[in-house]
Amino acid sequence: MWKDKRGVESGYFEILDLILIMLIAGSFSVFLINLNSDTYFERDFIAKDISLFEHALYASPGEVEKYEYYSPQEIVYVLETKRTRMARDVIDVEVPTKKERRGLDLSLFNIIFTTNKVEVAEKNQQNGVTYYAYNRPNFQDQNINGKETFTFKESERLEIIADE
């Protein structure tokens, strides 16, 4: 491509190096973007949490009339420092200006309950993350699609009711 004073051609491998660097940087970027948007951990957490919860309900020494299941969330208040007057002094006070909800959002997922498995999948996803469940034989399979909360009830058998 290019020739220096001695007539030695060069430039091919530098271009190849550039292409390689762009490929590697591009693939790492795609990997990180996929990692950020992946919900495997959330689905795995919900499946295992529900499985443990079903064990806990069955382990109760009596009936459970109603237990509302909701995703663990925390409310975070963002504080800002504002100058305000109190008596004759001007002081700095931290005031909440913004409220954010952080945590899992159950309404993003579809949850499938069967006698032996709990499966949590994203909407429009066929196969999700499954975990073991050990429900009794009289358990009826149930699907909860895109709900923020749902209710468990355990008397003669375990029931799961989607909240409207």
Binding site: R6, G7, V8, F13, Y40, F45, H55, A59, G62, Y134
Partner: protein
């Protein structure tokens, strides 16, 4: 002319020197990817909590081995109904699928008056996994054990005994 000929040979050596560079680059990419993947944990380990809950379910559930009075609808913790103390009944508590390889348990009752054989959930896998409970890490198994004094109810008779439950779950 001679200079050009030599220059071409020098260029060929330069080209060959790039091959190990590309190979090293590929190796480095895989090493970096591996290091990043090692730092990412996308699995929650609940084996310890699960084995404790299964133990609680065997002991304190209305369908468990504790004595449950149907008329009063009351469970008596600390008592064991000997009629329920069979492998078949225990496995029906959990509705195990065929060839389940996730939970296993052994329950032993010791009394001075009676000899009672231990009962199991998934006996085959319990015996296989028991030696693995002393290993740490992913290949090891979690063992939850509970030993408590209980009252055994047999044909309306009460006998004192010791109950030992061992539950094994994989990590």
């Amino acid at each position: 002319m001679n200079k050009l000929h030599l220059a071409k040979k020098g260029q060929a050596m330069e080209e060959m020197a790039h091959i190990p560079r590309v190979f090293l680059l590929v190796v480095l990419v895989f090493v970096i990817y591996g290091l990043i993947s090692l730092g990412i944990k996308n699995n929650a380990d609940i084996s310890q909590a699960e084995s404790e809950l299964i133990l609680q379910r065997i002991l304190y559930s209305t369908q468990g081995i504790s004595y449950y009075d149907l008329e009063l609808q009351r469970l008596y913790p600390g008592t064991v109904d000997l009629n329920k103390f069979t492998t078949r009944y225990l496995e029906s508590i959990f509705s195990l699928p065929n060839e389940d390889q996730h939970i296993s348990a052994r329950i032993e009752l010791k009394t001075n008056d009676l000899e009672i054989a231990p009962v199991y959930i998934n006996e085959e896998w319990f015996n296989r996994w028991l030696p693995l409970t002393s290993f740490l890490g992913k290949g090891g198994k979690n063992l939850a054990t509970e030993t408590l004094p209980i009252t055994i109810i047999k044909d309306n008779n009460k006998i004192q005994g010791i109950l030992r439950i061992e539950v094994i779950t994989p990590r």
